[in-house]
Amino acid sequence: MGKTVVFQARKILTMDPNRPIATHVAVRERRILAVGGPDCAEAWGGAEIDTRFADAVLMPGFVEGHAHLMAGGMWRFPYVGYHDRTDPDGTRWPGLDNIEEVIARLRAADAALAPDQPLYAWGFDPIFLPTERLNKHHLDAVTTERPVVVQHSNFHLLTANSAALALAGYTRETNIHGVAKGADGELNGELQELAAMFPLMRRIGVDFRSLASNPETITNYGKIARRVGVTTCTDLHAELGDADLAVLLARTGAEDFPLRLVPTLGAALMPPDQVAPRASALAARSTEMLRLGAVKLVLDGSIQGYTARLRWPGHINGAPNGLWVIAPEAADRLIHTLHAARVQMHIHTNGDEASEVAIDAIERAIQAHGDWDHRHTLQHGQMIDAAMFRRMARLGICANLFANHIWYFGDVHAAKTIGEDRAVRMDACRSALDEGVRMTIHSDAPVTEMAPLFTAWVAVNRLTGSGRCLGPAQRIAVDEALRAITLGAAYTLKLDGEIGSIETGKRADFAVLGDDPLAVDPARLRDLAVLGTVSGGRVFLT
């Protein structure tokens, strides 16, 4: 029998209705043995008391139900975004709100880089910079000696300096869609969409695929998670080839790795008939810290990119409806096949038409192949209305809503994409809960920063970047938001029997907080300090 440790805390929010509040939790063999007061382990033979958390508040380790491993790979490159971001080692990179600051940060990165290396930076967002649009001259001011490439935050655009444009073979004579030119007919440095970016990305050797199979990326992902209290995290669209899998198994199995990783297999990356067998084969490789077997499908694009599939009345600016990534009838067949094979699906649907196609398909699959504890989850589901939530509740479909969008893009959605009437009911957490849908909320890191308490803050306050409350009727209470980022997310990953609450038998996964989230002002929830995590009884303070 293993050693027992009792962690003493100022307060423990357990999410277990049988004992909602405690001060001590006993841990043995990576699991929770008992919860209560100082004597909670007495019946089990007693234990030494660890007082490190005596001034801290413990919660169940947070669960991020929609993020990408790529978030751990970006930090080998400098960040030049508008919003503050924290790197895996804890350095806070202040947001940059003018081009001079962007140039200054790039110059610093240039000075630190070996001579033959290209300078690649990420996270830039021109819509937040009211000054002149970033162009090649700004980046030539950084250096003309090496290629400089600034990737925009949406990953659909980049701005390059003259050396980078030359590397791609682009000149004044180039007449290729997406290779932008200024009024003078000269290249202005902006490359739009993947085709125009491809030659340059290939030549500077930035390949996001290779990031995923890199042990350093996985290590950094663990560090990012630890800093924000996350002990279980998805990688919601993974290739999971044998080489990747070997690295993932080795890294997540290491004693110093603090994160349970849940990669889901990208269904589009293989022939439809191979998805279910591959998912089943992966499920058999699962370990305690690497959970495999679920599948990701992508039906449509993004609302802010005007590529989400919307129902009537469509986009407020008259833009045409968005694009299916997979034909609805092909999605229907795939959903049917995977449901029949009892493979859990996480289905990306941003627009309401896409959500409806997914719900219809799951309903038909259930009629044909019966109901099982499928927990298929609509990911993002930003435009799901109350009627759709009612159908989802009846069918057992979960929702993982993109709450962070309210803060990052809420103003844009109200003004430019879907308009006020539908923006106030975007990411409708209140409706989901009221209609009985199992739900969670997410960051989609690296699209927005992983930080469940921030995501909870958005769901509770629904403030946009401009400071207005967008859809007060859809706000949820703090305890509901805390449940969403713990048990709620665990349920969508079929891990609610193991994690998501602090009760006997579950994994000893805790978020270590500086204060009590139920006691602080809900408007300050995002500012609450996270001191680290406990993963399987192992302490990882930051």
């Binding site: 791609a168 993947l194 030659p199 022939p271 694009l323 609805p328």
Partner: protein, 364 residues
């Protein structure tokens, strides 16, 4: 390294993309094709053609390789470029709702690739319903609109004339008909390097060789080398001018090069012209390709220039790719045109004028 020509095959589910891929692999005609498909499992390649296969790649005895995309599209492009030896051509089968021009744009941007055309398949039996479908109609239309060539399939199951009218509303691309994916490979892919080697100046229309007035030895090409010309269903009325087709809409009226004019019988679906020798003037050639003669679909030339340089020129569907060559022994050029619009003899006359212009410029 030689640029990799990229052909994108578009079209909605069930339009016959897989059949076309199978057909291409069987009739690669000496080209080492790399074909990337969505649904690897759906391919039906005769066992006797397969040299080896593993989980996601089939290697054919004829040198072709077929593999699943297996990754995001852009990475697939990178993998294709990294493959050694480099294939003669890359064929990408787009997904049913993909926008083929977005995919083909990579080939335009990447210096190591060359745009070799978008071929979109349309199922005659279902096209009208698909275009009217509020969910996928716009994406089906976009794949037609951006095509350089539309291949109409399943014409045996439905009225091809009605489908042609639907296509003409969406796209200016020429339309050919093919059953079971048996479209002429010479239209879908760039001409082979030796395509002009058979004759210094001969023009062939389908299987019938047309002798032009240029002197030089002629090699007869046997019509039996085009097996698909016998497998395709001739469309009634295709042997003569398509005007008799009875198309009535104003969409194509008054335009030359109407897509309605091209028949199904592949002995008449396209015509080929080729030439060798001589020097040409770059500006005159560009002027010719900028306003191509009716029916000209592809042009490939390795050309010695009047000023002493050399140029490799490819044109497909009006898009011209032009790159300097370090050295070149002899000019060779091939043109592929859609019958009956394309007149190989007329093109020969264009070519002769081009060369005459060069001579004039060389000797002012």
């Amino acid at each position: 390294m030689t640029p990799l020509p990229v052909t994108v095959i578009g079209g909605y589910l069930g339009a016959g993309k897989t059949s076309l891929v199978n057909h291409l692999l069987r009739h690669a005609d000496g080209r080492r094709l790399l074909v990337m498909v969505n649904d690897f499992g759906a391919l039906n390649i005769d066992a006797d053609l397969i040299e080896s296969r593993d989980e996601d790649t089939i290697t054919l005895a004829n040198g072709c390789i077929c593999c699943g995309m297996g990754t995001e599209l852009l990475y697939a492009f990178g993998d294709a470029l990294d493959r050694r030896p480099r294939p003669d051509a890359l064929i990408i089968e787009a997904s049913g709702v993909a926008l083929p021009d977005k995919i083909a744009a990579v080939a335009q941007a990447e210096p190591e690739m060359r745009y070799a055309g978008i071929v979109t398949l349309a199922d005659a039996a279902h096209l009208a319903a698909l275009l009217a479908d509020p969910m996928i109609g716009t994406q089906v239309a976009a794949a037609l609109k951006t095509a350089d060539l539309v291949v109409l399939t399943k014409g045996d199951l439905a009225d091809p004339a009605a489908a042609r009218r639907e296509i003409a509303r969406q796209s200016a691309a020429p339309v050919i008909e093919a059953l079971h994916g048996r479209a002429p490979v010479d239209l879908l892919l760039e001409p082979r390097d030796d395509a002009s080697a058979h004759s210094p100046a001969a023009a062939r229309c389908g299987g019938d060789e047309v002798v032009t007035q240029t002197a030089g030895p002629l090699l007869r090409k046997d019509r039996q080398d085009r097996p698909y010309s016998r497998q395709c269903r001739p469309r009634p009325g295709a042997q003569h001018d398509g005007q008799s087709d009875g198309q009535s809409d104003g969409q194509s009226g008054g335009q030359h090069g109407s897509p309605e004019h091209v028949g199904t019988d592949h002995s008449r679906a396209f015509a080929q012209w080729s030439a060798a020798g001589g020097v040409v003037d770059r500006a005159a050639l560009m002027a010719l390709l900028a306003a191509p003669p009716p029916g000209l679909f592809r042009f490939k030339g390795r050309l010695r220039l009047v000023d002493g340089g050399a140029l490799e020129v490819h044109m497909v569907g009006g898009l011209v790719d032009c790159r300097p060559l370090a050295h070149l022994q002899e000019t060779r050029a091939v043109a592929i045109g859609l019958a009956p619009l394309f007149d190989a003899r007329a093109f020969e006359r264009h070519w002769q004028r081009l060369r005459a212009a060069s001579l004039n410029r060389a000797q002012p």
